[in-house]
Structure formats: C-alpha cells, structure tokens
C-alpha cells in the first residue's frame, strides 16, 4: 500500500488496465482464466472463468457400471489418483456393506499416503519454482519418480493408476513393491529435510510467502475450504481423523495446523503432512507383518471381479464374471455419501443408486472446485506476483476443478 501514487483524472495512467491471465498462461499451471483489472501491479478486481476442460464425468458415470467408474476417478485429481480410486471403491463398499480385511485396509493406506506425498511434492515443488527456486523441484521430483515406480509394481501404471477393485486389490503386492517402498522410506526423508532447509528459513522465500493471501478461519469455513488450506488457516479438520475410513483409526498421526492461512503456512502444513504420511506408512508396514500375507481382497465373489485366468478356466469365476459385467446382481436402492481426505481436501462421493448396474446419479465433491472459488475475491488488493504464488499454493488441479 505504501508509496502508492495517487492518480488524478487527467493522468493518462489513471485508467485501469485489463490483464487476461490464462487460460494458457504459463504461471497458471493449467487452464484457469482470470480477467484481472490492474492498477499498476495491484489487482483491483478479478473474474475467474473455469470449465476449460469440463469432461462431464458425472454424466459419463451415469452410463457406466460401478467397476468402470474407477478410471474416471483417476482423472479427477491426477496428481494423487490412488486416493480417488480408493475413495470410490470405499463408497461402493459402503453401499454394498462390504467389510474389507485389515490387510486390504493397510495396503490402501500405504498407497493413499504415497499419493498424498506425490501430490504435495508437486505442489510445494512448484511453489518453489514460482518463487524462483528451481532446485527444490528437481530434488523432489526424483522421489516422485520413485513413488511412481512403486505404483508400477502394484498396478502397472504410473499416473492414472486405476488401482484396486471393489473389495480390495486386483493382485497382491509383489516383493519388489515392498523393496522399493522400503528404499523410498529410507531415501525420501533425507531429501525432504534438505528441501525444508532450503526453504523454511530462506529469507527470500519467507519474504515472498509470509502474510501473502492470509485467510482467517471464519472465511475459510464460509468458503467451505478443506484440506491443507483449511488446516493452514487453523482449523484441524481432517477426514482421516474425524471420520476414519480404511482403518485410519489404527494409526497414530498428527494433524498439522497453521496460524493465519497464508502461503507460507500452507507450505509448512503440506511439508509436515509429508512427514506424517511417512509415519503412517511405516506403521502400516509394521502392521502388515502381523497379517496373513495372501489376503488382498474381501471375499465377495458377487462384486469382486475375478482374475482373467480364472474366468477362462473356472466355471464359478466365469459365472460371477458374467453376472458382474452384465449387472445382474441386485444392489440396494439407496443413497450414500462417503468422503476421504484427498490431497486437496475432502473428496466426497454422493452416489444415488436405483438398483441397476450403474449409478442413477453420482456427484463428486471436488475440493479443488470449491477451494478455487475464493481465488478471485481474495486477489483484490494483492500484487500480481503474489496472486501467482497464491494460485500455486492453492494447488488447484484442472481435472478436479472442471470435472
């Protein structure tokens, strides 16, 4: 605010300029358009336009059987696909009252926490890039590759994982997956520590991020913020702790909170969440040792797709395969809301079922969509350069934003 010149009517500079930021602007990390009114470098007002990759997930879901909706959920928040996959499986399991064995829950926890780390690596790494520090990004991306290699051992895919089935996993984790996981647990903390020492007390970084885009807890709640953003504003709402799913109640972890919801707090909260995720994964590995190692799905043949080799060689499996694929197994006519703690916040699935093979209506509560709507109002009065780092710390994922 200080030293801001006062313009008179005669001054040619008194007019506001309009900046069309996006949808292909490099600083917007995706496809968001913001038309900003600028007074010099200060933003006077802004209008967000979204929908540039609206893909009609909810409409497609009404035409797909339950087990074919998993690939759609992959593409919601593609930085942490496994959380979406697991969230969807658990929604259907809740609908069908399927109890999963503990080992399945723990394996899911491992995969979900890895996904959370992968997502936070991107967000915090890119925040570093936007404040002028490319190094941290390159250090961290190496370990995201390591996470992707673990995914590959588990499901064969890197990014859009499509992990799991309704009732569990399509195959057991192989020994290489565990080896890579242990290597990751050994190597990553070193880099994370290095990353933190590069940024946490770095004068330039702190000056760029401290008190930028601070949000009070009341405002954050009024805008229905969830996830690291809400926690950075000081509200300790975490679905994992509040409504534990997938046996999260068996784990010890802390929910980090920030003080004033600024970009710096969000950065610290995400970093701390990575440490907590590592803690959870270690506990899960220890718990897995006590579980029978050959269980990887619930015993629900009428909903769990049998492996292909059994379908071709086994009468019973063939019948179940046929029944599942043709949708001949009745499902309860009811509605269910299930939510998981996605990397960006509460990822909710509202499923209305009419007893058929596909949902009557499926609505995704997408944290990116709901978190992003504060962006334009909160940008007022901000410097353009601050608005850019504010956007990268919101971690809005275009696929989740536009569905």
């Amino acid at each position: 605010m200080q030293n801001h010149p006062v313009y008179t009517d005669n001054d040619p500079q008194s007019e506001l300029s309009t900046l069309n930021l996006g949808p292909t602007h490099p600083a917007t990390h995706g496809v968001f358009q913001n038309v900003l009114q600028l007074d010099g470098e200060r933003i006077v007002s802004g209008v967000s336009t979204i929908g540039y990759i609206h893909r009609a997930f909810e409409k497609i879901a009404e035409h797909r059987p339950f087990y074919q909706i998993t690939p759609l959920t992959d593409r919601l928040n593609y930085c942490s696909s496994p959380i979406n996959n697991m969230g969807w499986h658990m929604t259907v399991e809740k609908l069908l009252n399927i109890q999963t064995p503990k080992r399945v829950d723990y394996l899911r926890v491992i995969v979900m926490e890895l996904a959370r780390i992968a997502d936070h690596i991107i967000c915090n790494g890119v925040l570093g890039v936007d404040t002028g520090a490319f190094t941290g990004f390159l250090y961290m991306m190496e370990h995201r590759e390591a996470i992707y290699e673990i995914y590959e051992e588990v499901c064969g895919s890197r990014l859009t994982t499509n992990i799991g089935r309704i009732g569990g996993f399509e195959r057991n984790f192989n020994s290489r997956a565990f080896d890579k996981l242990r290597a990751f647990l050994k190597n990553f903390p070193k880099t994370l520590k290095e990353f933190e020492s590069l940024f946490n007390r770095n004068r330039i970084f702190v000056d760029r991020t401290r008190d930028v885009a601070a949000v009070s807890a009341e405002t954050a709640l009024s805008y229905s913020w969830t996830g690291p953003l809400l926690r950075a504003a000081g509200v300790d709402y975490d679905v994992r702790a509040m409504n534990p799913y997938s046996s999260y109640e068996d784990f010890e972890f802390e929910v980090p909170v920030g003080d004033n919801g600024d970009v710096y707090s969000r950065f610290l909260v995400r970093n701390e969440e990575m440490w907590q995720s590592l803690r959870i994964i270690e506990q899960a590995l220890a718990k897995l040792d006590k579980e029978p190692s050959d269980i990887f799905h619930a015993d629900v043949p009428e909903f769990y797709l049998p492996p292909k080799e059994e379908v071709y060689n086994n009468m019973e499996a063939l019948i179940y395969h046929f029944k599942i694929v043709m949708g001949e197994i009745p499902t309860p006519k009811t509605e269910v809301y299930h939510s998981v703690e996605g990397a960006n916040g509460e990822l909710g699935f509202y499923l209305v079922n009419d007893g058929g093979r596909s949902p009557y209506r499926l609505h995704f509560r997408r944290p990116s969509f709901i978190n992003y709507q504060m962006y334009a109002p909160m940008s007022r009065g901000m410097l353009l350069s601050d608005a850019i780092i504010n956007m990268s710390s919101l971690n809005v994922i275009a696929g989740e934003l536009d569905a």
Partner: protein, 180 residues
C-alpha cells in the same frame, strides 16, 4: 564424463577443405536439434510432461531445453490433455499465432481422439481444429512415449523440404482447417 555425442553430418560431397551438401539438410539438422516446444498442457498428460522435463527423463537432451510459452517463438505445439469445446478456439488461436514452420504433436488419447471422454463437452481429437504431425497414444503416455513422439517430430523436421510450406498441397491442408 558422460559420453557426448554429436549429430552425424548429413550426406554430402567432401574434399580437402570443403564439404558440400544441400541447404535443406543443414537447416533440417539445425532445426531438429533446437526445437522450442510450447507445452499446451491441460490435464493428466501435462503431469507426465513435467516428469519428461524433470531430472529423470530430461527432454533437454534432445535440444528442447528451452520451453517457449509464447507461441510467437515456438516451433512445436505439444498439446497434452483433454481439449474441451470451450478450449478449442483458444487452441486454434495459439496455433495461428505460431510462425511457420510449425509442428504439432498430439500427446495422449484425449488430444488424439477424445479418449475415454466421448461426451458432449469434449472435442473428439484436436485434428478437428488444427493439423497434427505426430500422435502419441497412451492415457497418459509414459515419458518414454512422449520422448519417442518427440524424436519422430525431429525426424520430420530433419527431412522436411524447405519449400514444403509454400507448396499448394500444404496450402490445401491449411485451407481444409479454414486457415489462410
């Protein structure tokens, strides 16, 4: 020290103190090893592109170190991710702003054909609005596949005749898309 490899010289006539080849080939080699890509990354494939650019896969090895976010200075438009109908005019605008010679790479199933999103809101392949040189399949393609697609673009660039862009056949192609 890593093993640094130089580009092989094109076929030509060599003698004491001189080397003669056609201008096409020299320019082709120079262009193909210094492409400036414009990453038009909209969704999932863009994340794989980040991996392609980052330390592990490192697209810079192919002379594409410098990403050009301005279409004016870009040689290669890499379209990565779903292009919705709302986005199509923007994509076309970006293509029109690029200077000739320009190449287009459709990365991933969505950019190539609409992918799994056969819906009212998604463009069924970017070749409905702009001409495409190389298609990379995958949902999303692995970084190796993106690099392979890039090498195919390099091959096209290397062998392209200098006159191709002024030929009537190329003009016809552009006219088909309503581009003058």
């Amino acid at each position: 020290m890593s093993d640094i490899q130089l580009v092989d010289a094109p076929a030509g006539v060599e003698g004491a103190g001189f080397f003669a080849t056609s201008l096409d080939k020299v320019i082709g080699i120079a262009r193909s090893n210094s492409l400036w890509p414009l990453p038009f990354a909209t969704s999932c494939c863009g994340i794989e592109f980040m991996a392609t650019m980052a330390s592990h896969y490192d697209l810079s090895r192919f002379g594409a170190e410098r990403l050009s976010f301005s279409p004016r200075q870009a040689d290669l438009l890499m379209v990565m991710g779903t292009i919705a109908k709302k986005m199509a005019p923007v994509l076309r605008q970006v293509y029109l702003q690029m200077a000739e010679p320009r190449w287009v790479m459709a990365v991933g199933a969505c950019a190539s054909s609409g992918g799994i999103f056969d819906t009212y809101s998604v463009l069924q392949g970017i070749d409905e609005v702009i001409p495409v040189d190389v298609y990379v399949p995958g949902c999303p393609p692995r970084p190796e596949a993106i690099i392979d697609g890039f090498m195919n673009i390099q091959e096209l660039v290397k062998t392209e005749s200098l006159r191709r862009r002024s030929e009537p056949k190329y003009q016809e192609l552009l006219a088909k898309y309503g581009i003058q």
